[in-house]
Amino acid sequence: MSKVPADLKYTKTHEWLRTLPDGSIEVGITDHAQHALGDLVFVEVPEAGRAVKAGEPCAVVESVKAASDVYSPITGEVIAGNPKLASEPETVNSDSYGSGWLMRVKPTASGPVPQLLSPAEYEKLQQEEGD
């Protein structure tokens, strides 16, 4: 069973969200997702300043097995992409909930309320998908 920290929110497409003290949202992919992908060899994160919509593909994670899009869980403006991942994509494998974060987004106040999962709901989703 993959790790599902209790203090985060999740999406059906295997992203996690953490609310930072300044109100911005940190986004990454879950332990389950990194495990399913295998060893990552390339991660492309969005540029700061980019406007993203909920559900929009905004990052790419590529492993020895496959390349997948990462979707923004919320609508807002990217304030940072994780600069470390260009040279150390494996950080997403080793610390997917910590230093392997992908981007930080400042949510737009007027944006639609995103459909997020609680840790319990995400665990259930993983079981359904046969983790």
Binding site: F42, E44, E47, P57, E62, A66, A67, D69
Partner: protein, 457 residues
């Protein structure tokens, strides 16, 4: 044996299984207006003997004219060994096999090709080739949009000194993907990019600029200044180069202070015969930073479990089976046979051989220009250095002159009227190392006589 292995019963069983009544029904989602209803105009089949005879008759009508046309395809001497080796059974397949690593020889050849092309262009990485020079420019434009993440405009500056066919293919390929190509004029007196006209792009969001060297007129652009101008404004530089010329000219990897970002071109001059316009192949290179944006494949050298050296498909980051619906290109290794010939050609020539070819072509073109411009009614269109082709201006329409030359077995050059009507009676001529002094003299003599008989406009 029929090429389609299914019997009528097989087809019926398959249709029944998926609940479809006919094969046509499978294509129902294609609107009726887009379907071709008949193959009228396509003649009936011929057997091998008939087709062989027809083709030899057609080939005879080509004759063996003395060719002074360049304009993107160049007649070079091809050592006999090139195609003798290329057509060996081990190489004689256009594709990399589906289980690529099982064909170590094919992969090694692609690896050698990439190494040679990267070294020739002075760039860090080369892919395993694309279709031709024109598709390479289109792919490079699309790639520049992916690579230049600071630019949002998808605007590509394309000077009119870039090959007109390349520009047309780029527009046709990429316009519906949102790219906008904007023409930059050339300086009428010099036949190179009119740099003052770049001033209007100051402060604008431009994704990339395409620079051809030597340009379509055979002239040399100020690539260092143009590259630095572009980079200072966050504009990527797509170089379009002639591979033979790189034996003499500065490679795109050294243009300006940072070098070009993407360098492409047509590989035909490297051992591929003219053969009525194709098939040729395109080469495509970039800097390491953008390696994941290059279409097609890259072969790398590695070691196997036992530490023995071997070759593997290292990167095919943008292809369909990796990126599925997000694939950015369908370029694979379709031109593998031409790329094989080029690799063998480059191996046989070596850097010194290629340099001698380039120097000879340049010398012959100067000789040709001297001979032609001595004639009354013929003058050079642009002053300044050229590589192995140049524009001359006649004092009368070009088409009848070319027709009269053709009847004497001479292909006198490309009439530029269709592409650059503003130049007047302009003719693009080329001489490579294949032309002797006698060839050049006979062209000049024929042109002199033809100019006497074809009336001035």
């Amino acid at each position: 044996m029929a090429f389609i292995p299914h019997t009528a019963a097989d087809v019926e069983a398959m249709l029944a299984t998926i609940g479809v009544s006919s094969i046509d029904e499978l294509f129902e989602e294609i609107p009726a207006s887009l379907r071709v209803k008949s193959l009228a105009g396509v003649p009936d089949e011929l057997n091998e003997m008939q087709i062989g005879r027809l083709m030899s008759e057609r080939a005879r009508t080509d004759g063996r004219p003395l060719c002074f046309i360049g304009a993107g395809a160049y007649e070079h001497h091809i050592p006999s060994a090139v195609w003798a080796i290329t057509t060996r059974g081990e190489f004689y397949s256009a594709y990399t096999p589906y289980q690529a690593e099982a064909s170590q020889g094919t992969l090694q050849l692609i690896y050698e090709y990439q190494t040679m092309i990267a070294s020739l262009t002075g760039m860090q990485v080369s892919n395993a080739s694309v279709y031709d020079g024109a598709s390479a420019v289109a792919e490079a434009s699309l790639m520049a949009v992916r690579a230049n993440r600071k630019s949002k405009s998808q605007r590509i500056l394309v000077p009119t000194t870039v090959h007109p066919h390349y520009r047309k293919v780029a527009v046709a390929t990429a316009t519906n993907q949102g790219l906008r190509f904007e023409e930059v004029p050339y300086s009428a007196g010099e036949g190179v990019i009119a740099t003052p006209s770049l001033a209007k792009y100051e402060g604008e969001d431009i994704t990339a600029i395409v620079i051809q060297q030597p340009n379509f007129f055979g002239r040399l652009e100020d690539v260092d200044a143009l590259t630095d101008w572009a980079h200072a404004r966050g504009i990527l530089v797509v170089a379009v180069v002639n591979p033979t010329s790189l034996a003499l000219l500065k490679p795109p990897g050294s243009w300006g202070t940072q070098g070009a970002d993407i360098a492409v071109g047509d590989g035909q001059p490297l051992g591929v015969p003219l053969s009525s316009g194709g098939p040729y192949f395109g080469f495509m290179t970039t800097r390491l930073e953008y390696v994941r944006q290059i279409p097609g494949r890259i072969v790398g050298r590695t070691v196997d479990l036992n530490g023995r050296p071997g070759f593997t498909l290292t990167l095919q980051a943008r292809e369909q089976h990796i990126r599925r619906a997000k694939a950015t290109s369908n370029i694979c290794t379709n031109q593998g046979l031409l790329m094989t010939a080029a690799t063998i050609y480059m191996s046989l020539m070596g850097p010194q051989g290629l340099e001698r070819v380039a120097a000879a072509a340049h010398a012959k073109t100067r000789e040709l220009l001297n001979s032609l411009t001595r004639l009354k009614g013929v003058r050079a269109a642009f002053p300044g250095p050229v590589f192995h082709e140049a524009v001359v201006l006649l004092d009368r329409p070009v088409a009848p002159v070319l027709k009269a030359l053709a009847s004497r077995g001479i292909l006198g050059g490309l009439d530029l009227g269709e592409y650059y009507p503003e130049l007047g009676h302009a003719l693009l001529v080329c001489a490579t190392e294949t032309k002797t002094a006698a060839d050049i003299e006979s062209y000049a003599a024929a042109l002199g006589e033809v100019m006497q008989s074809v009336r001035a406009a």
